[in-house]
Amino acid sequence: MVNLLINCFDETVRKNADKTAIIDGNEKVTFTKLQEISLKLSIIINSKMQNEVKQPIAVYTKKSIANVASDIGILYSGNAFLNLDVKSPANRISAILSAIKPGLIIATKESAKNLESIYPICNILIYDDIEFSAVNIDQTLKHHQLSRIIDADPMCIITTSGSTGTPKGVVLNHRSFMDFTKWAHDAGLIHDTDIIGNLSPIVFDLYCSDLCMMMRYGTSIVLLSEKHAAFPTYLLETIRDNRVSYIFWVPTIMVNIANMSLLDKISLPDLKTIWFSGEVFPTKQYNVWKKHLPQAKFVNLYGPVEATVDVTYYVVEKEIADEDPIPIGYACENTDVFLLSEENTACKTGEEGEICIRGTSLAMGYYNDPEKTAKVFVQNPLNKQYPEIIYKTGDIGVINEAGEMIFRGRKDTLIKHAGYRIELGEIEHTIINKLKLIENGCIVYNSVAKEIVLYYETMSNITPQDIRVRLSNELPQYMIPSKYIKLNAMPRNTNGKIDRLYLKELCLHGE
């Protein structure tokens, strides 16, 4: 029985020896070569770690073949990878390293320079200095190391921002990735012959998803950099020229591409499967994509970082009007996603509740943080008979008559204002999608001044007065924002999502 993805990778390499595994600009590496580098790295890692297993090891490099090989090398060594963003501010890197305390950091000569001031006490391995030709692969050591771990051991750690400012390290195990990749493959939503256009930064679970698909099914990956994210035209030309057939992106960039009408100019005949998740894809822009790529299958996924990659999916097959949301759909196989009311009872059809998850896909918890873990990874209130952990997402959903789950918004965007329960997302939806008054915006509630505030960006000359008047035809008075603040660009977190927490701070404490 093969329980670890890294063992699947051996089989993948046997089947795809000379196939290209990774393309990074002009650089390419075959499966055989990628495995060779990774195995050699694992030998060095094992010696630096005194053959310890199950330890977090950080990778502090730009997205590159080196970082992919490092991640796989760490897995071969029996340890878990923790990818770091070289562009993150020093304070954040330092906070992550202090919280996780990795036993080793793999860096490049360039990135290692920053580390000296950030986290001087760590064991560092400089990738560029490794003399790969001088390292002999030791299969016996590899087998020995991997025989010491089980599928519930950590495979990687993904960091996510905590509301208190200290990043949390979400521990994801081997079997959850086995489960997720198998679901995707069985559902026919990824194929062995796919070429993946990987745009996600290496610190996110979308990157891990792409990496694992490649390791298990022999798909090729085209690495797309920050430079691609900055230049959508260049991005689309690159995926077209590399004949990318599958992408798994956050909607932000896809919305930009739709708004810039780029799909009119660049055709993508090879693109067959489009997954998106991480935030709501506004249906209007989704429809632009759908119109231009009639051959593609579009899949809306949903899931918090605390469950491996995503837990629900919806293959969009019917027409969806611009005003309607795209459902998040159904639970992925071997995962249960259900709604709990505030009284911890199961919700009926049409009743809103907190989205909760149980199953193999759940994270093991937050690394070095039992308190925060205990708050959200809790005993299933519907099960009084034996221990069973569920994760409470803090997201609100509802199941419609068709049995599809619909995402309603964050629990913390549900506010009580003037005695009314208001979902801030509903106001946003009305302004942005329904009335199309502005290109982008975010509603924040100032709980001190009791004000609903709209932060927005737009190219048009619409005034706050105009917005107010148009809204008064759609929403009750108590839902209409009282303050309107135009920004040059919405603040974004590293994942490209609008940074709500920052705006909330801004709103409470002023500029």
């Binding site: 994210a229 035209t233 780029l262 040059n488």
Partner: protein
């Protein structure tokens, strides 16, 4: 040229846009900066920038941005 530098400096006062010869390789401009920069250039130089022109070759250095803007003005 000075106006362009001024715009860049408002984006990131902490970066040295005068020294760098490749803003993208040096990580001085990211996707959100580009959008802001395009808007500022359009407003300040009274030009229209087509999305198809937003490519690395037009934005990777001060000289590139300058000649791009000048070409647009003529």
């Amino acid at each position: 040229m000075e106006k362009i530098l001024e715009i860049l400096k408002t984006l990131h006062p902490e970066y040295d846009y005068e020294k760098s010869t490749n803003y993208l390789d040096d990580g001085l401009l990211d996707s959100f900066d580009i959008i802001a920069l395009v808007t500022e250039l359009e407003d300040n130089f009274n030009i229209d920038i087509d999305p198809i022109e937003i490519i690395p070759n037009n934005f990777e250095s001060m000289n590139k941005i300058k000649s791009f803007v000048e070409n647009k003005q003529h």
